[in-house]
Amino acid sequence: MPSEPLFWQRFNICGRDFVDAGKASITIKGILREIGIHPSLIRRASIASYEAEMNVVLYASQGTMELRVTPKDIRVTVEDEGPGIPDIALAMQEGYSTASDEIREMGFGAGMGLSNIKKNADAFSIHSVVGKGTILEITFRL
C-alpha cells in the first residue's frame, strides 16, 4: 500500500528570544497556504501555533515545534524544556496566568494562551512534568 503523503518539518524555538519570537508559526502559516489549506483553518492553526510558540518563548529555556500535514489532518506538536505546569486544569482556565510583571508589560500573559489553543484546535492534549517540561499536541482536521 503506498504511504500517505506527509509533510513534516521541525522548528527550534529559543526561550526568551523575542527577536525571532513568532517566526515558526509564521513559517507554518506560509506552508499551509502553499499546500492550499482553507484560509479559515490556516487562521485557526496559525493562532494556536503562535500561542504555543509564545508559551515556549515566554516560559521555557528552549523547545521544538513540529508540523505534520497529511490529507486528513494537520498536527502541531510543541515540546519544551521548561518549568512544567503543576495544575493543568487551573492553567486551562481563561485569565489564569503565572506571568511575571515583565511578561505582562510586553503585552503577554493575559492567561488566554492555552484556552485559546484549545478553542482553535479540533483536538488538543497536554502533558507536563514539573521541573522538566511540557508537550502540547494540537490537531486540526481537514
Binding site: 500517505e4 503523503p5 506527509l6 509533510f7 513534516w8 518539518q9 513568532g22 508559526s25 509564521i26 502559516k29 506552508i31 497556504r33 502553499e34 499546500i35 492550499g36 489549506i37 484560509p39 479559515s40 487562521r43 496559525s46 493562532i47 503562535y50 500561542e51 500535514v69 497529511t70 490529507p71 503585552g107 485559546n116 481537514l142
Partner: protein, 407 residues
C-alpha cells in the same frame, strides 16, 4: 530571471512596483496611460494628489503646479487634498460608531488591499469601508464639470496623476465590483519633464494669499499623514511591505486589539515615495510636511456637513472585497503536500545563501521553481560546481593525488 529577462509570476503579483524600483537598468516600466488615449474626451481633468507637490522645490506652491498641469494639455486640474480631509473626517465618524473587532485598517494603498486579499483573508473585514480620496474627488469634479459645461458624463475624462502602478490597477480593476470614477492614470514620472518646463513659464500667481489648496489632507501621502489627520488617539502608521506583513501577522494572531486604526503603505515613506515618482522620497516628505505646516492648518471641510454626508452613506463603498489567495502548489491536497515535501528536500540540498545567481530571489523560491518544473537544479552554480568537483575527483586516484589534477 530566466534567460536574462525578468519574469513576473502574474498570479503572485500584488502590483507593489518594487521590481521597477529595484531594477538598476530601468528595464521594467509599469504600463500607464498616455495623453493620446484621452483625446476622445471633450474635456479632461487631471486629479492631482499632494504627492505631485512634493516633487518640486518647496517654494513652488500647489497653485503654480496646478497651473502647470493645465498648461501641459489638461483642460483643468483638480486637487485631491481637500477630498482627503473629507475622508479623514468620514473615518472619524466611522470609528466613533464602529463596535466590531479592532484594529481597523486603512484601505487606500491598493497593494496592501491586494496583499490582504491574498495572504490575510481573515483581515478583509477590518478594511474601513470608505471610498478613497481620489475616487471621491473624481466623482465630485465630474459632477461639477457636467453642470458647469453642460457635458455628458462620458464626455469628461478624469485622469489621475499616479505615484504607483497599484493605483492604476485599482482604477482599472477595483477590488470591489463597481466601476471607478476615474478614466485612466498617467505616471507622475511621465509628465514630470513637460510639467517642469510648463511650471517655469507659469506667471507666478501662486502667492500665499491666493493659495487655493489647503486642508489637513495635504499630509496624506506622507507616512503617518492619515493617522495625524484623525481624532483617534490609538492609531498606528506602517510603511514598507515587510513591516506591514509583520503588523498584519500580529493582528492575525489576535494582538494589537487595543489600537483603533492602522494606516498601511506598501512604500516605506508612504505614497510620496511611490515607484512612479521622481523626487527622493525623503526630500518629497520634507517638502510636503513644509506645505502642511504652511497651509494644512486651515480646514477646507465643514465637519457637520461631512457627518451628514457620512450618515447618508456618501463615502461608503458598496459590496464586499473577496479573498484572492495565491494558487496552491497543486489543486489536489495530497499532491500539494508531496510537492511541498520535495521543495523542502530540494531546499536542504541548496547552499541557502540566496545569492540570486540562478535567477530566483531566494534558495527556497528556486527549490519551488525546480519542483514545479520552472527551473533545473543545475541552474544553481553552487550545486553545479560541487557536481563538477565530484565528477573530476571520481575517476582519479586517491584523494589529494596531484597526478589526478594533471589529467
Amino acid at each position: 530571471m530566466r534567460h536574462g529577462k525578468a519574469e513576473i509570476l502574474e498570479d503572485r503579483c500584488i502590483d507593489c512596483g518594487e521590481c521597477a524600483r529595484a531594477c538598476r537598468h530601468n528595464a521594467i516600466i509599469p504600463q500607464t496611460s498616455s495623453f493620446t488615449e484621452f483625446s476622445e474626451f471633450k474635456y479632461t481633468v487631471a486629479l492631482v494628489s499632494p504627492v505631485l507637490y512634493g516633487q518640486f522645490r518647496k517654494e513652488v506652491l500647489p497653485s503654480t503646479i496646478l497651473a502647470g498641469v493645465r498648461k501641459i494639455g489638461f483642460d483643468d486640474a483638480c486637487d485631491v487634498a481637500c477630498a482627503s480631509e473629507a475622508v479623514s473626517a468620514a473615518i472619524d465618524e466611522h470609528l466613533a460608531s464602529y463596535r466590531g473587532p479592532l484594529p481597523l485598517l486603512s484601505p487606500f494603498c491598493p497593494t496592501i488591499v491586494r496583499l490582504i486579499q491574498a495572504r490575510y483573508p481573515s483581515l478583509i473585514d477590518l478594511l474601513v469601508p470608505i471610498d478613497s480620496p481620489m475616487e471621491i474627488a473624481a466623482r465630485e469634479v465630474r459632477n461639477k464639470k457636467m453642470k458647469e459645461l453642460g457635458l455628458r458624463r462620458d464626455e469628461i475624462g478624469v485622469i489621475y496623476l499616479t505615484p504607483c502602478p497599484a493605483k492604476m490597477v485599482a482604477i482599472k480593476y477595483p477590488p470591489r465590483k463597481r466601476d471607478s470614477h476615474i478614466d485612466g492614470a498617467i505616471a507622475i514620472s511621465d509628465i514630470y519633464r513637460p510639467l517642469l518646463s510648463a511650471i517655469s513659464e507659469v506667471n507666478d500667481g501662486g502667492h500665499e494669499a491666493e493659495e487655493s489648496v489647503t486642508g489637513m489632507g495635504l499630509g496624506w501621502p506622507v507616512l503617518g499623514g492619515q493617522v495625524s489627520s484623525l481624532r483617534a488617539e490609538n492609531s498606528l502608521a506602517v510603511g514598507g511591505l515587510g513591516d506591514v506583513e509583520r503588523i498584519l501577522d500580529e493582528i492575525e494572531h489576535g494582538r494589537l486589539g487595543d489600537i483603533q486604526f492602522v494606516e498601511c503603505h506598501a512604500c516605506a515613506q508612504g505614497c510620496c515615495g511611490g515607484p512612479l515618482t521622481v523626487g527622493d522620497p525623503y526630500v518629497s516628505r520634507g517638502t510636503i510636511l513644509s506645505l502642511v505646516a504652511r497651509f494644512g492648518e486651515a480646514p477646507c471641510q465643514d465637519r457637520g456637513k461631512i457627518r451628514e454626508l457620512y450618515q447618508k452613506r456618501y463615502f461608503s463603498l458598496p459590496g464586499k472585497i473577496s479573498s484572492r489567495p495565491f494558487a496552491p502548489l497543486d489543486r489536489d491536497i495530497g499532491k500539494a503536500i508531496e510537492k511541498r515535501k520535495r521543495i523542502q528536500e530540494t531546499h536542504e540540498g541548496l547552499p541557502q545563501i540566496n545569492c540570486g545567481a540562478c535567477g530566483a530571489p531566494t534558495c527556497l523560491s528556486f527549490a519551488e521553481d525546480v519542483v514545479l518544473g520552472r527551473a533545473l537544479l543545475e541552474d544553481c552554480v553552487v550545486v553545479t560546481a560541487k557536481q563538477a568537483r565530484t565528477t573530476a575527483d571520481a575517476p582519479s586516484g586517491p584523494a589529494g593525488d596531484p597526478q589526478a589534477l594533471t589529467l
